[in-house]
């Protein structure tokens, strides 16, 4: 498996340079009155869509930025 991602700072780079940060699942929920189930839903629960999804990537071997991109897990390609 190999593909490329577009870092907003550095441009298109090999996926080897990045770390996956999971699906975008919205900001960290408010903790006041947060039930355990809601918390685990936010941290653990993942959808497995057969369509492009928004996800986080970290350019660890490059500029060190976390960025969001839309990628199709079926083809591994970014979509824009």
């Amino acid at each position: 498996m190999t593909f490329r991602l577009t870092c907003p700072v550095c441009g298109k780079r090999d996926v080897y340079e990045f770390t996956f940060g999971g699906q975008e699942r919205g900001p960290r929920p408010e903790q006041d009155g947060l039930s355990a189930e809601e918390h685990f839903r936010w941290t653990q629960f993942r959808l497995i869509p057969n369509e492009p999804q928004e996800e986080w990537w970290y350019h660890g071997q490059g500029c060190g930025v976390w960025f969001r991109t839309t990628r199709d897990p079926g083809t591994n390609r970014e979509v824009r």
């Binding site: 408010e30 986080w56 970290y58």
Partner: protein, 980 residues
């Protein structure tokens, strides 16, 4: 044995003989030979024995498509004789054979084929199960290919890797590939051209047919010279491609010659576009006894004669299915090889009347609509049976070589790895791409083109297509369109033959679909009879196209034969999935050169000078201990009673500053970080979302919105990622600077630590002015400013100096000089590990793991549970686990006097239940007994509890001993020594 003199097409230099040995017999080949051509030239006809039936096998392909000619060369098994270039002094042994392959003692197995139907190992041998090891070892001895010597060193020669970047990767250095490379290069693109053979030109290098007034091989030479001279075309020969991957990453390897600095080099080329011009290979003709030594592909016989000057046989029968086969036969006849007859599976459709004229001139019998149906002879071909495809008449001929194929088929492996959609084309009778991935182009004979001009033109079209794709500047639009128009005027793809197998197949004889795995036509039928009637199932059941033959010879034929047997049209046939690598790099190459990329602390040479034994710890080489006592008793005692110094430079060191720096700290640290004060170390820890301890360290405020903090050495590399990840939605304004490598540090620890420090600085470091957990900037020696942190990880009075890395060796010298009177000595990681464990201080990954939270290991006190506003990472999980039963807790253990000493990892048991394990355990001189830190289930985690440790001496042999639970703070539980 005398060689032919084929003239300019010859690659062999007869003036440079090379001596080698085969089965201990001395033989001679020539520079330019492959192992296979040299063996064949020296008269060897039986190259090995087949996998299952131990049938004699000879030279079948010249391109590494058959595993039957794998040899052990200089002790390295499974070397491909067909493609490995001969070197002087090679010691070559055949495989899967006892002694001479002509007289193999397992040869009788061929007669017992009824006991070995398709998939026989799946339904025999496994009952009774106890006998399986016996069967297994027997089968292993009789079947298989090369034998590995477990004691041998196979990582011979230099293995390197190379990472390339190109606008265009052209795969295949034949006429189409070269034309594509030239066209793309002229358009200003950066081109990498990969050719698996030693030189450019493809099949044109051995063809003498006329091409616009000169022989084809000269045309190939002229093109190659232009490619070599082209400025932006990089040519890689002896470089097979192993696959094309996502977004056109091309991988492969280069085989070094004696002039290269490497033996084999793995390369990867990230290309914007790819031109696949991989050419064609012979499609095997499946007929009875088609595996006999003396049956070979058209290209094999032709190249033996034209490229290597080896006479392939004395009396040669040809059974072919395309014009290239006819051309080969006529050419061999011209070289003085007697052609017994030519059978052409096609009734008609041969191109041009000159072929028939040539056959008449040479008086070669020609049989259209016929194919060879059987090879005669056991260890050597002695004749063959020719049969009409319409059935009925057959005729027997004598010959000593049978050249047979069912026409040519495209090499589609590369397209398959690139995930191109392929379909059987009923015009060319080969698999053709119907949909190509973005940026992938196809050119040359693999598209079905046969006319050399068309092949070259298709390369030019691809080259300009690539340029257009890349947005390159074409000389003119008209110029770019010209090759397409020119190509259209030339002959298109020729009609293929579509013969699936020879007539009268089976009938009590073996007809091999897969030579490598001994898969026969009968096995295909057996597989279908058992309901495994699609290629993917038959492949797994009967082994077609497994092992080294993945997708080479068997893949396409198997699919066609199965469709035929099922009565389906051939275009419904789907070949089995391609498994990379398409070529065979050696494992040593894939293992890589074995770089040990590590960091050294600024004190590396000082430590080495004092006898440090280094160990890899994360990214660093660190001193494990000094001298030759791995238990470090003296180092430990010296810290406890006197003073020691530790190189703690790998410790993570960071600065965070900005208006939202505190917000970020509050998010990731469990404590209330607003309490971080200037001049004071605030100890805290980070958790992940599951409440597991990830990191610990101290934070010091250095100004408004400005903090200095430390992390554990192991986490230093991930800290920036961690902070930014957990604040990614917040749009906070802070800067995080990793100072780990910029600052070195050393830790002076022990009761005499202050007295040593006093000699280095004029600053007041007394207990009143510089209490426990204070952090000061002090001036050391000749004015070096250092952060000094009074911490106590090892449980003694200690001062940690953080200073610019380049000053740290100077500080080290000062400390050693100042401490000399006390007998200061360095200590290493193991001493630190024992010292901190005696104190009950946790190391992440040793006493904490996935199943335990911060609270479980007794550090829950630091968690600011009132704070919900900062949304601390891990807080909800800690809350959820608070009163959860069945959790593991960290405890101290005192091992019973005289009991068997546990080791790190020893299990804690309750009856036959595992209730925990010992994380770290040592026999302590300080305490006078063996202690341990253990994670045990909560119901056992209270002081005074007697628990059982289970030692496994050998598999199945268990001994238990007892220990008592106590607080993990074995040493100085009230922390008086830290504060002294």
């Amino acid at each position: 044995m005398s060689r032919l003199r084929p003239g300019e097409t010859c690659r062999v230099d007869f003036s440079r003989p090379l001596e080698f040995s085969f089965l201990g017999r001395e033989m001679t080949g020539y520079a330019g030979d492959t192992v296979a051509s040299a063996l064949y030239g020296a008269g060897v006809r039986i190259f090995g024995r087949s996998l299952k039936y131990h049938r004699p096998r000879g030279l079948y392909s010249m391109e590494g498509e058959s595993a039957n000619t794998f040899m052990s060369i200089d002790g390295v098994p499974n070397e491909c004789a067909e493609t490995t270039e001969l070197r002087a002094g090679m010691a070559i042994e055949p495989q899967n054979v006892r002694g001479d392959p002509g007289r193999d003692r397992f040869g009788f197995l061929d007669a017992f084929d009824r006991l070995m139907p398709a998939g026989f190992y799946y339904h025999l041998f496994h009952r009774p199960y106890a006998l399986w090891p016996l069967f297994q070892s027997g089968l292993r001895r009789m079947a298989g290919t090369g034998v590995l010597d477990p004691g041998a060193e196979y990582r011979n020669g230099v293995r390197t890797e190379r990472y390339l970047n190109a606008d265009v990767a052209v795969i295949g250095g034949g006429p189409a590939g070269m034309a594509a490379a030239l066209a793309a290069g002229e358009s200003g693109l950066r081109v990498c051209l990969f050719e698996r053979r030693g030189r450019l030109g493809g099949q044109m290098t051995w063809r003498v047919r006329d091409f616009e007034g000169e022989p084809l091989y000269r045309r190939a030479g002229a093109l190659a010279a232009r490619v070599r001279a082209a400025e932006n075309v990089n040519v890689f020969t002896r470089s097979p491609v192993t696959g094309v991957w996502g977004e056109n990453l091309v991988t492969g390897f280069a085989v070094g010659t004696e002039d290269d600095p490497f033996r084999e080099c793995h390369w990867e080329c990230r290309a914007t576009t790819v031109v696949v011009a991989a050419g064609c290979m012979d499609r095997p003709l499946v007929f009875n006894h088609n595996d006999r030594p003396g049956v070979m592909q058209v290209g094999t016989a032709w190249r033996l004669a034209r490229t290597y000057g080896v006479r392939p046989g004395k009396s040669v029968a040809f059974s072919v299915a395309d014009d290239l086969g006819l051309e080969a036969a006529i050419d061999l006849d011209d070289m003085g090889v007697r052609i017994r007859f030519i059978a052409d599976a096609r009734e008609s459709g041969q191109q041009g009347p000159e072929v028939f004229d040539a056959l008449c001139d040479r008086a070669i019998p020609f049989f259209p609509g016929c194919a060879v149906s059987r090879a005669v002879g056991r260890k050597r071909v002695r004749g063959c049976v020719l049969r009409s495809l319409k059935g009925g008449r057959s005729r027997r001929f004598r010959c000593d070589l049978l050249v047979a194929n069912a026409g040519m088929q495209p090499r589609i492996g590369i397209l398959a790895t690139a995930k191109a959609r392929l379909a059987y084309c009923t015009h060319t009778h080969g698999y053709q791409p119907t949909e190509l991935p973005p940026g992938v182009f196809v050119a040359g004979s693999m598209t079905g083109l046969r006319d050399p001009r068309s092949i070259e033109a298709s390369g030019r079209v691809a080259g300009y297509g690539v340029a257009e794709w890349c947005g390159g500047r074409l000389k003119s639009v008209a110029g770019a369109r010209a090759p397409a128009r020119e190509a259209e005027a030339l002959p298109g793809p020729g009609a293929g033959c579509g013969i699936i197998h020879a007539p009268a197949i089976g009938r009590g004889a073996k007809a091999f679909v897969d030579l490598d795995e001994d898969g026969t036509y009968k096995n295909v039928k057996e597989s279908i009879a058992r309901g495994l009637d699609v290629p993917e199932l038959a492949k797994r059941f009967a082994g077609f196209g497994l092992g080294p033959g993945q997708y080479r010879v068997a893949g396409q034929n198997l699919a066609m034969i199965m469709a035929d047997l099922r009565g389906d049209p051939v275009e419904t046939a789907h070949p089995t999935t391609v498994r990379p690598p398409l070529g065979a790099p050696s494992l040593a190459t894939l293992a890589g050169p074995g770089h040990d990329v590590h960091k050294r602390t600024p004190l590396h040479s000082e430590l080495a000078g004092r006898g440090a034994v280094f160990r890899r710890a994360g990214a660093w080489q660190r001193a494990r201990h000094f001298g030759d006592d791995p238990s470090c008793r003296d180092e430990i005692r010296n810290v406890r009673t006197n003073v020691g110094v530790l190189d703690s430079s790998p410790l993570g060191k960071f600065r965070i500053h900005g208006p939202d720096a505190l917000n970020a700290l509050q998010r990731v640290y469990m404590s209330d970080m607003s309490k971080a004060r200037p001049g004071r170390c605030k100890y805290s820890a980070m958790c992940n979302d599951m409440g597991q301890l990830m990191d610990d360290g101290v934070v010091v405020a250095e100004g408004p919105g400005d903090y200095y903090f430390t992390t554990s050495s192991a986490r230093a590399g991930d800290t920036v990622e961690w902070f930014r990840f957990h604040t990614r939605h917040d749009d906070w304004d802070y800067n995080l600077v990793n100072l780990t490598d910029v600052l070195g540090s050393l830790n002076i620890a022990g009761p005499n630590a202050r007295r040593v420090l006093e000699r280095l600085t004029r600053d007041n470091v007394s207990n009143q002015a510089f209490p426990y957990l204070a952090c000061r900037r002090i001036t050391v020696g000749d004015g070096v400013e250092a952060r000094c942190l009074r911490l106590g990880f090892v449980g003694e009075l200690s001062f940690e100096l953080h200073a610019p890395a380049s000053y740290v060796p100077y500080l080290w010298d000062l400390v050693m000089e100042a401490g000399a009177d006390f007998g200061i000595r360095p200590f290493g990681l193991e001493a630190q590990n024992c010292l901190r464990a005696e104190k009950g201080h946790v190391i992440i990954g040793m006493e904490s793991e996935q199943r335990v939270t911060l609270t479980d290991i007794g550090m829950g006190w630091m968690w600011d549970r009132e704070d919900t506003v900062s949304k601390k990472v891990g807080a909800p999980a800690l809350r959820a686990c608070d009163r959860q039963p069945g959790r593991l807790n960290l405890v101290g253990l005192r091992v019973e006097e005289g009991a068997k000493a546990p080791r790190d990892g020893t299990l804690v048991v309750d009856g036959d239940k595992i209730v925990g394990y010992v994380c770290t355990t040592r026999s302590s001189d300080t305490l006078g007994w063996q202690y341990g830190l253990a994670l045990v289930h909560r119901e056992h985690a209270f002081p005074g509890r007697r628990i059982h440790l289970c030692h496994e001496e050998a598999p199945g042999q268990r001994v238990t001993s007892t220990a008592f639970v106590m607080s993990p703070h074995f040493y100085d539980p009230r922390g008086e020594r830290l504060r002294s």
